[in-house]
Symmetry: D2
């Protein structure tokens, strides 16, 4: 199954901008080799279940040492026989809108 | 406050592709006049609380007539004194990564 | 349609316990007259769309004056012809487990 | 760190009640030995990161064989030095409300 996951992870209890924490996580995702896309409210990544979850664990452990509280939201759309959905889902919707 | 919302909405109980439902919702968002960005796991939109929630209600009512069950996930990041965050948050993270 | 919503709302950038903020929101929900249930990761409330969303707006405005950044996650399960689902969904699952 | 996770998992594309699928997942959680609480919109479970994520993987693999599409939402509140938060967070909020 293709596991398309959106990962949102940030520390609570830190004032001001959170981009210094988010950028550390996004670097891990970028270097994972999995297809990904950075968005305003989370980063999407696509792979098999174990690949995606192992990466989520590394993101958590990246922040754990210097953050006393970390909040995470994950949404996962798992679909048999699907692939290339980071670009494919958006393209499918845009095609339908163009035809309507 | 800037309300940056990510809206995911789809019917459950409908087999196959859901893009015909998602595209109806995305058209409403596109025509709302609010800044938005379509992503693989949801659509981000930015505005004031009432603007964003009125739009969410229209998305719900778009699907309600022909869907017996609708599932929605919304994440909202509300921040005082901020604006243009659909592009700004991603740019801020990418800048930090480039500098590191 | 029955709108069963789980609302999670908290300020970011505030150190320590967040229960002082959460309790202000839960009081609003309790006093709303809608059916609700407090849980470890959010509060469930059931009503019509407009009732639930008007309440969500009041929760946001409760924290807005003294919080510069507020994070919200909402999950909504909207189902035609359903009711009393705060207790009903859990009872339905527990009955199936008992029979298995 | 205490990892308090709320897990929502269901197939899409299946009509009618989803309780037959949800109950299979809840049985796995119940039998895991981790502290848990079943709620109307998801099940909360508390443990260490690896314990919680290994359990999430078993829940996914429970539905994967007979579901072509599975949707998952996870929220995680990870906090250093905390424990017994499934009952503790709700008790903390209720105590504050009683005192106000």
């Amino acid at each position: 199954m293709s596991v398309l996951a959106e990962l949102t992870i940030f520390p609570t209890g830190k004032g001001g901008s959170l981009s210094q924490y988010v950028s550390r996580v996004v670097k891990l995702i970028r270097d994972s080799g999995l297809a990904y896309e950075l968005g305003p409210m989370g980063t999407c990544v696509e792979g098999e279940w174990d690949e995606v979850m192992e990466l989520a664990g590394r993101c958590y452990r990246e922040l754990e040492p210097d953050c006393d509280r970390v909040y995470i939201v994950m949404k996962l759309d798992c679909r048999r026989g699907a692939k290339d959905r980071i670009s494919g889902k958006v393209a499918s919707v845009e095609k339908r809108i163009a035809q309507s």
